[in-house]
Structures are given as structure tokens and as C-alpha cells.
Symmetry: C2
Amino acid sequence: MNRRNTIQRRLVADAVRVLDHPDAETVYEKIVQEHPHISKATVYRNLNLLAEQNEIGKISTAEGADRYDCRTRPHYHLRCRVCGKLFDTDANFDRPETLLKDTNGFTIEKLNAEFIGICADCKEKEAPH
Amino acid sequence: MNRRNTIQRRLVADAVRVLDHPDAETVYEKIVQEHPHISKATVYRNLNLLAEQNEIGKISTAEGADRYDCRTRPHYHLRCRVCGKLFDTDANFDRPETLLKDTNGFTIEKLNAEFIGICADCKEKEAPH
DNA sequence: ATTTTAATTGATAATGTATATCAATAAGAG
DNA sequence: CTCTTATTGATATACATTATCAATTAAAAT
């Protein structure tokens, strides 16, 4: 026996698909509206399990909670420092080792990267024309 | 009156200069050996203050505790996923916006990035020739 | 269909990292 | 030397996440 198909698991997977780069808390709050018995621990567990099995993506970030993503192919994000929203980018870091002249014997496996700035909406609100 | 020159502050600044990309805990443990009265809160406070005033660098990371750096000019790091050590790189991300074709109205202010892999020492230990 | 089993759940405690609080202390201006 | 207030130490609190464990339940075995 291996992985079971629980409703909680389906609910978590569905929520990640519907929401836009949600964190665990946001996934929980969405599900709990319709299924008030679900536990936050179950949400965390399933987010991790689905990410390990590559059914969803996990975005670990330097600040604030981890985010989850219905896209599973590696890609990079812009984070608005005002509203916190994530935006997908077209950045191509497929060969991160090419970004360095000297790796000093270090074997590079991947690049964790996140662009920080301010999104169009927040810019507009800060300085409306 | 503004910023005061406390011994605790000097101890924290010195520890960051002596240690190699330490986290707050490591700074605390170094100082507490000679100054057993220092509080961990003081270490955190001074690390943040020194970083704000650009006397040390702060490296916020997606995993584990923040690290501090005697180098203050922006630069990027390699993190060994085995031993956790950080290594300085020669990566140049001075104009992160040039890495994207389309920014969709987003204003990019900086790029948070960290190369992940395995360092020469840990590679050697895993597969000694 | 019923039993068996182990994966999963819910509730909650515990962890790790960091900040907030606040009375006591002390750096440095006058 | 006195006074002001930045700073400290001790501790509580915050926050995100994982660990624990008895109870439940999906699905395999009978």
C-alpha cells in the first residue's frame, strides 16, 4: 500500500491550482470555508507531499512563508515588496554555472533566485498620475 | 545623542569580521565564551543595526537562519547543501532587469539569489578517490 | 462483504528563528 | 557630576513549520 487518495489531499491540490502562488495559511483558509474540520497540519503535510511528488511547485523564500505553485517546471518569480504578490518571469537560469567565471571546485546544482521590486498596481497607488 | 559605542556592539561587529558568514547563533556563541553576560537579544539587535548602517552585510536566505557578512558591497553566494557553508562568488547581477525579456510593468530593484550545490571538501568526503 | 493494515488525519505540543516588551543600566552630552 | 536616553538583559511573544500520537479510514487481502 502506498499513497492514498484522500479528500483532504485533493482539496489541497485543487486549492493550489485555483489560488495564485498561495502560502499554506491561504490554502488552509480557502479549504476551511467548505470543510471546517480540516487541520492545518494536514494542509502542510499535503503541500509538502505534493511538492515532493512534483504535482505542485514549492517556492521557498527569504522572507515570509513558503509559497506553492501549480506550475511545476522550474521558473523564477518577481515579488512585489509592497503587496507581496508573486509574478512569473521569463528568466532563464537553466545553466546557473555559466553565470560564474570561477566556481572554485564547487559543483553548482541550482540557483535560488527571486526578483524584488514593485508591481504596476502598487506603483500606480504610490504615485497616481 | 545618537548611536552609542557599547562594548556589546563592538563585540558583535568584531565577531562578524572574524567568523565566516556566521548566523546570529554562531556570533552569540563566540562572544559568550569571553563575555558570558551578553544577551542573545543584544546580538540580534546589533546585527540588525550594523546591517542597517551598512557596517556589515546581511544575507537573508530561503532556508535556515540569516547569515552576516563582513563584506558590505552587494555580492552573491554559493551555499553547500551538505555542510551549509557559504562561499563568495564573482556573479554580476548589477542590472537584474537585463535578465528578463519582459517585466510587465514591474520595476525591478534587486535580485535575491543564492547558488546551491556541493563544495569541494564535501564532494571529496562523499566520493573519495 | 468483512477483516486487516498501515497511510492519513486532527489536535496539539514542540521547534527554530526572530522580534517585542520593559525595567535597569550606562554612554556620552552638557 | 549630573542628566538624558540609547542600550542592555531577561523574558515573553510571534510566526512558520514540523513532530507526536491516538483515532480514523482507504484500499488491499481474505
